[in-house]
C-alpha cells in the first residue's frame, strides 16, 4: 500500500519534470526550427514541426541585411567595458569599506546601500537630462557610465573581504606594503572565484540591459542587441525565419556563457540577489 503510493508519487514527479522541461525548452527549439527554414515555409498553409528544407539562408540574410553585426559589436564593447569598470570600481570601494579605517566610512557605506532601495527605473528622466547636459546621448560613454554604479557588487565583495582573516593583511602591512599593494597582491588573488562569478553576471546584465540603451540611444548605429532586435521589423520586414535567426544570434553569447559557466552564473545571480550562494 505504502509502496504503491510511493510509486505513484515517483511517476507523477517524473511526468511533471518531463512536462515542465519540455514546455520550457519548446519556445527556443521552435525558434531554431523556424530559423532553419526557407522564408516561404513560415507562412505556408500546411503546418510542419520541422523544416521541409533545411537551410542557413535566414542566418546569412540576417547578418548581411540589417545592422546586426554593428549591434553585436556595440553590445560586446559596452558589456565588456561595463564589466571591467564595474569590477575595478567595486573592488576598490569594497576593499576600502571592508579593510580601511577612515572618517565618514559608515555614512558613505549606508548611502551606497541606500541605492538598493531606489529603483533605477524611477531615475530615468533626470538621468537622461544629466546625460544630455554632459553631451553623452548616443555615445559609448553615455551607454556605459550609468551602468557601472552597482552597490550590490560592492556589497558582495565587502562581505567576502570581511571573511578573509586579518592575519593576511597585517602580515603584508608589517612587510611594508601599502594598502593598494595589499589589495592587489593579497586580497585579489584570494577572491578569484567571487570576482569571476560577479563579472559574468555583470556581463550578462549589461548585455541584456534594454531600458538604459532604450533611453540614451536614438541612432541605429549606436544600438545594442536588445534594443536593435526591437527594430528588426523595420530592417527585415515581417520575415519570421530571419527574425528568429536574429533572436538566436542575439541570444547566443549569453546563452553560451550560461551553458559554459553554469555553476559560476548561478552562484553569481544568487550572490547578487543579496542571498548567500
Amino acid at each position: 500500500m505504502r509502496n504503491q503510493s510511493q510509486l505513484w508519487w515517483s511517476i507523477a514527479a517524473v511526468a511533471c519534470a518531463v512536462l515542465l522541461a519540455a514546455l520550457w525548452a519548446f519556445p527556443l527549439l521552435w525558434a531554431v526550427s523556424t530559423a532553419l527554414r526557407p522564408e516561404h515555409e513560415t507562412v505556408s498553409a500546411t503546418f510542419h514541426w520541422l523544416p521541409q528544407v533545411w537551410t542557413l539562408d535566414a542566418f546569412r540574410k540576417t547578418l548581411s541585411a540589417g545592422n546586426l553585426p554593428r549591434w553585436l559589436f556595440n553590445s560586446a564593447l559596452v558589456s565588456l567595458l561595463v564589466t571591467v569598470v564595474t569590477m575595478a570600481i567595486s573592488l576598490g570601494a569594497a576593499y576600502a569599506f571592508s579593510q580601511l579605517r577612515f572618517r565618514g566610512r559608515g555614512i558613505l557605506f549606508a548611502l551606497a546601500m541606500l541605492a538598493f532601495l531606489l529603483p533605477f527605473e524611477a531615475l530615468l528622466v533626470p538621468l537622461f537630462r544629466t546625460m544630455h547636459q554632459l553631451g553623452m546621448i548616443n555615445s559609448y560613454a553615455g551607454l556605459v557610465l550609468p551602468q557601472v554604479v552597482s552597490p550590490v557588487v560592492i556589497y558582495v565583495f565587502k562581505q567576502f573581504f570581511d571573511q578573509i582573516p586579518a592575519d593576511f593583511r597585517e602580515a603584508a602591512v608589517m612587510d611594508g606594503a601599502n594598502p593598494l599593494r595589499v589589495l592587489w597582491s593579497v586580497y585579489l588573488p584570494l577572491s578569484g572565484n567571487i570576482v569571476w562569478a560577479m563579472a559574468i553576471v555583470t556581463f550578462i546584465g549589461a548585455w541584456n540591459n534594454f531600458l538604459w540603451p532604450f533611453i540614451i540611444v536614438t541612432s541605429n548605429d549606436m544600438m545594442t542587441i536588445p534594443l536593435g532586435l526591437t527594430q528588426t521589423y523595420d530592417a527585415f520586414g515581417v520575415r519570421y525565419a530571419q527574425l528568429m535567426a536574429a533572436a538566436l544570434i542575439g541570444a547566443l553569447p549569453v546563452g553560451l556563457a550560461y551553458v559554459v559557466f553554469q555553476r559560476r552564473v548561478t552562484q553569481g545571480f544568487l550572490a547578487a540577489s543579496g542571498l548567500k550562494a
Binding site: 572618517r103 524611477a122 528622466v125 592575519d167 608589517m174 526591437t230
Partner: protein
Amino acid sequence: MSRGAASLNQTQLPQPASRPAPAGSSVRAEGLPAMLLLAPFVLAFLLFFLGPALQTLYLSLTESSLTRTSAFVGLANYATLVQDPSFWASLGNTFYFALLTVIPLTGIGLVMALLVHRFVRAQSWLQGAFFLPYVLPISVVTLIADWMLQPSSGIINHLVGGQRAWLSDVHWALPVVAIGTVWWTVGFNMLMLLAGLRNIPAEQYEAAALDGARGFTLFRAITWPALKPVFGTALLLQLIASLKVFGQTYILTSGGPYNTSRVTLHYMYETAFTQSDAGYAAAVAMAFMFVVIALTLVARLVAKRSS
C-alpha cells in the same frame, strides 16, 4: 599577481600577528588610499545615482520639459497626479500584471526547485532548461513570443485553433504577456528556492523517514516549514520585480489595446519622452518610487522577523 601572494603567504603567514593596529594612526595612514580607492565609485554614484534621485524630487516640484526647467510649481504636479485617471489606470494595470505573475512565478519556481532537488542525476539538465530563458535579452523573448502568437501562422493559434490576435485583445493582452514573463524569469525563483532546499539538513529528513513519513507528509513536516522564510522572501522580491514591468508590455503591445496594458513605468516614459513633460513624469516616478520602497521595507522587515 598570484606570485606575490604566494611569496607573502610563505614568508609571513606562520607568524601569528593578530594585534589590532592603533586606531588614531591608521585613520591618518589609510585616509588617503581609502579616498583614492573610493573616488571613482563616489563620483559615479553622485553623478548617476544620488544626483538623479534628488533631481527627481526637485523636478517633480517644477514645470519642466525634457531638457529645461521653466518654473517652480510646488505640489501642483502631485495635485494633478491624484486626479489623473490615466495614472491610476496605469497603476491598476501594473498591479494586475503583478497579480498575474507573482503566484505562478513563485509557485512554479517552487515545483521546479523540488524537481531539480529530487532528480539528482538529471539536475544540471533540468536546471539548465528552467534557468536558460532568464539569461536571455528581453527582445529575444519578445521576438519569439510575437512569432508564436502571430494570428495567422503562429503555432499557438495552430494548436488552439482560430485566428485570435492575442496581443491586441483587450482581455488577453496582459495575461499573455504575463505568461511570457513567467517563462522568461521563473528560473531565478527556482534558483533561490533550490538554495533554500539545499540548506535543509539531511538529518531532518532521515529522522522523519525513520518515523515513517513519506512523500507529501515529508514535504509538509520538514520541507515546507524550513522553506517558508525563503518562499516569503521570494514572494516579496517577485512582487517588487513585477511592479517594475515595462519592456515586455512596451515591446509586445505598446500598452494597447486602448491603454489596457500600459503600466506605470510606461506612462512615466510617455509623459517624459513623448510629451516632454519631465516635471509631471518626475511626480509619477516619485509615486512609483514610494510604492516600491514601501514594499521593499516591508519585505526586509518580514525577512528579518523570519530569520
